[in-house]
C-alpha cells in the first residue's frame, strides 16, 4: 500500500495529464492524443486511489465492472446523430455519482456520530456535502430531461406552467435555507442535529426537482447552451466532492471542468446574442407575439432538376447545415454532392454556425463522420465577408441561424444574433421539409427573398437526387 505522500504525488502527475490533455484537445492536430493523455491521467488517479489500502475491493470491482460495461456498450453503439443525447446521459451519470458520494460520506459519518456520541463532521464538510448533492442531483435530472428532449421522448418546445419562475426561485430559496440549516453544527441534543438526516433528504429531493424544472422550460434550439452548462455543473459537483474528503485531484479536475464548461456556455450564448439568464429563464419560443413583421411575398419553389442546372454552372458553393441535416441523416449525401461539385471545378465550403444543431459543434461532428476534411469547414466570420461573391448558398435544414430578421428586424426576438448571411449569396437554395417556422417558432424572411429558391422535401432525398443528376451527366 502506498503512503499518502506518494499518492498525492501521483495525483499531481494526474492533474498535469489533465491540464495537458485539455490543452491538446483545443487544437485539431493534437485533439485525439489530448483525449488519450487525459484518459491516462484518469487511470493514474484511479490506480493511485486504489492503493490507499483499507478499501473494500469487492464492492469497488463490482461497481467498476457494471459501470465499465454500460459505458463501453453506450459509447460503442451510439450513432453519430445520437451523440448529443449520449453526451447528456454520460454527463448525468457523473452528476449522480457526485450526489451518491456525498450521500455515502454523510451516511457514514452520521451513523458513526450516532454510535459514538462524538460529532464526526464539521460545518465546512457538511456544506460541501450539501453542494455536491444539490449540484450533482440537478446535473443528473437536468441531463436526463435534456436527453429526453434531444431524443424526442419529450417535446422540444419549452414546457411551461403558470408561476414557474416564482416556483423555481422558491425552490432555490428552500434548498439554500436547508443547506445552511444542514451545515450548522450544534449540540447533539439540538433539534437541528436530530433532524440532520431529514434535512439532507429534503436537500436531495429539491436538488433533483430543480434539475427537471430548470431544463424542461428551455426550448430545443437552446440545447447547446444547456448541455454546455450541465457539463460545467458536473465538474463543480466533482469539485465539491473534493472538499468533502479534502482530495486535491478532485478539486483541481472538477474546477478545470467547471471553468471550461462555463467558457463554452458563454461562447454559445454570445453566438446567439443572448445572456445566460435570458436562455435559462425566458422559455424562448413559447411566446407567439415575438415577431411583429408579417412575412410578405411568396416563396419560390424549385425542382431538383432545375437546382442541378444552377449548381452545375456554379463556381462556388457554400453549404449551411442545421439540425434538419442531422434529423434527415443527410451528411453523407451532402459530402457526396460536395465532392461532385469539386470535381466539377467548383469551390466548396461548409459554413457552420456555433449553435447550429443541438450541442456545441454538432454539425462539425456529423460532417467529420461523413469524411468532410475540416479545412472546408468555415465559421460565419470567415464566410460572411465573401458571401456576396458566392454563386450558390445551400441551406440544409438550418433556419434560425440564417434568418435575416436577426440583422434587419429590430422587433424580432432574435434581433442582433450573429447569423450566416445566406441571403446575400447570388442564389440561395433552402432545403426544407415544408414552409413552416423554425424551432424558435419565428418566421424566416429568407424564404421569400427574390434570390431564394425552396427545394422542398426530405433533405437526404433532395441531395441524393442532385447527386444522381450529377452522375447522369
Amino acid at each position: 500500500m502506498l503512503s499518502p505522500f506518494l499518492i498525492d504525488m501521483a495525483y499531481i502527475v494526474a492533474a498535469v495529464f489533465f491540464i495537458f490533455g485539455l490543452k491538446m484537445l483545443g487544437k485539431a492536430d493534437t485533439a485525439r492524443r489530448g483525449n488519450q493523455v487525459s484518459a491516462m491521467g484518469m487511470m493514474i488517479a484511479l490506480v493511485a486511489t486504489l492503493l490507499y489500502g483499507g478499501l473494500d475491493y469487492t464492492y469497488i470491482l463490482v461497481g467498476i465492472a457494471i459501470g465499465g460495461g454500460i459505458g463501453l456498450f453506450g459509447a460503442k453503439t451510439v450513432a453519430m446523430t445520437g451523440m448529443p443525447e449520449m453526451v447528456a446521459l454520460f454527463n448525468g451519470t457523473g452528476g449522480i455519482a457526485s450526489l451518491l458520494v456525498g450521500w455515502a460520506e454523510f451516511h457514514q459519518s452520521y451513523v458513526e456520530t450516532a454510535a459514538s456520541g462524538v460529532i464526526g463532521y464539521s460545518s465546512f464538510t457538511l456544506f460541501a456535502i450539501f453542494l455536491a448533492s444539490v449540484i450533482g442531483g440537478l446535473t443528473f435530472t437536468g441531463s436526463i430531461v435534456a436527453w429526453a428532449k434531444l431524443s424526442g421522448k419529450l417535446p422540444g418546445k419549452p414546457v411551461l406552467f403558470p408561476g414557474q419562475q416564482v416556483f423555481n426561485v422558491l425552490l432555490l430559496v428552500v434548498v439554500l435555507a436547508a443547506g445552511i440549516a444542514f451545515a450548522l453544527v450544534g449540540d447533539m441534543s439540538d433539534p437541528l442535529m436530530m433532524a440532520k438526516y431529514d434535512i439532507y433528504l429534503v436537500i436531495v429531493a429539491v436538488g433533483l426537482i430543480l434539475g427537471v424544472l430548470a431544463v424542461i422550460g428551455i426550448g430545443g434550439a437552446d440545447m447547446p447552451v444547456v448541455i454546455a452548462l450541465l457539463n460545467s455543473y458536473s465538474g463543480l459537483a466533482a469539485c465539491a466532492t473534493g472538499f468533502i474528503i479534502a482530495n486535491k485531484v478532485l478539486i483541481v479536475s472538477g474546477a478545470l471542468v467547471g471553468a471550461s464548461g462555463l467558457i463554452l456556455t458563454t461562447i454559445m450564448c454570445k453566438a446567439m446574442n443572448r445572456s445566460l439568464a435570458n436562455v435559462l429563464f425566458s422559455g424562448f419560443g413559447s411566446t407567439s407575439g415575438g415577431s411583429a413583421k408579417k412575412n410578405e411575398g411568396e416563396a419560390r419553389v424549385i425542382t431538383a432538376e432545375d437546382a442541378f442546372l444552377v449548381l452545375e454552372a456554379a463556381g462556388s458553393v457554400v453549404f449551411v447545415p442545421g439540425y434538419g441535416m442531422a434529423v434527415a441523416q443527410a451528411q453523407h449525401a451532402v459530402r457526396e454532392l460536395g465532392d461532385m461539385l469539386e470535381d466539377n471545378g467548383c469551390e466548396v465550403k461548409y459554413a457552420i454556425h456555433p449553435v447550429a444543431g443541438r450541442m456545441p459543434g454538432h454539425m462539425n461532428v456529423l460532417l467529420a463522420e461523413a469524411n468532410v476534411p475540416y479545412e472546408q469547414l468555415v465559421e460565419p466570420d470567415d464566410v460572411n465577408p465573401i458571401m456576396e461573391t458566392v454563386d450558390v448558398c445551400m441551406v440544409i435544414g438550418a433556419n434560425d441561424v440564417v434568418n435575416p430578421s436577426a440583422r434587419e428586424d429590430e422587433d424580432s426576438t432574435i434581433y442582433g444574433m450573429p447569423i450566416i448571411d445566406s441571403d446575400l449569396a447570388r442564389t440561395t437554395f433552402v432545403l426544407k421539409r415544408s414552409l413552416g417556422a423554425g424551432y424558435a417558432g419565428i418566421g424566416n424572411p429568407l424564404f421569400f427573398k427574390d434570390n431564394t429558391r425552396m427545394l422542398l422535401g426530405d433533405a437526404k432525398d433532395s441531395v441524393s437526387t442532385l447527386v444522381a443528376e450529377f452522375k447522369q451527366n
Binding site: 491540464i19 490533455g21 484537445l25 483545443g26 485539431a28 485533439a31 485525439r32 483525449n35 487525459s38 484511479l46 486511489t49 483499507g54 478499501l55 473494500d56 464492492y59 469497488i60 463490482v62 461497481g63 459501470g67 463501453l72 453506450g74 459509447a75 453526451v87 454520460f90 454527463n91 451519470t93 457523473g94 455519482a97 457526485s98 451518491l100 455515502a104 460520506e105 451513523v111 464538510t125 457539463n231 458536473s234 459537483a237 466533482a238 466532492t241 472538499f243 474528503i245 485531484v249 478539486i251 479536475s253 472538477g254 474546477a255 478545470l256 471542468v257 471553468a259 463554452l264 461562447i267 457552420i352 450541442m359 459543434g361 462539425n364 467529420a368 469524411n371 476534411p373 479545412e375 465559421e379
Partner: protein
C-alpha cells in the same frame, strides 16, 4: 478539517478555475463537441471520491451508495473517453485515408 487545510484547498480551487478559463478560451468551434465530451469524461474524476467512500467495514447503506457511485462514475469515465475518441477519430485532414 482545520482552517489551514481549508484555506489551502480554496487556494487550489481558485488557481484551477483560472487555469481552466485560460486553457479553453481560444478553441475553434469545430472542436467544441469533443472538448465538451472530453472534459465531461474528466468530471468522472468523482470516481476517486466514490472509491474512497468504500473503506472496509463501512455501513451497508454506505457500501450500497458507494458501489452505485463507483458504477455511475465509471460509466461517465469509460463512456466519456471512448465517445470522445470515436468522434476525434473521424476528424481528418484532406487526403488522409479512412480510419
Amino acid at each position: 478539517m482545520d482552517a489551514q487545510t481549508t484555506v489551502f484547498l480554496l487556494f487550489i480551487l481558485m488557481l484551477s478555475v483560472f487555469l481552466g478559463i485560460e486553457l479553453i478560451s481560444r478553441v475553434p468551434s469545430q472542436l467544441h463537441t469533443p472538448l465538451m465530451s472530453g472534459s465531461n469524461a474528466i468530471s468522472g474524476i468523482t470516481i476517486v471520491g466514490a472509491v474512497l467512500s468504500l473503506s472496509s467495514g463501512s455501513e451497508t447503506i454506505t457500501a450500497v451508495l458507494g458501489t452505485a457511485a463507483v458504477a455511475c462514475a465509471t460509466v461517465n469515465v469509460v463512456g466519456g473517453y471512448l465517445v470522445t475518441d470515436r468522434m476525434l477519430g473521424m476528424f481528418r485532414k484532406k487526403g488522409q485515408g479512412e480510419g
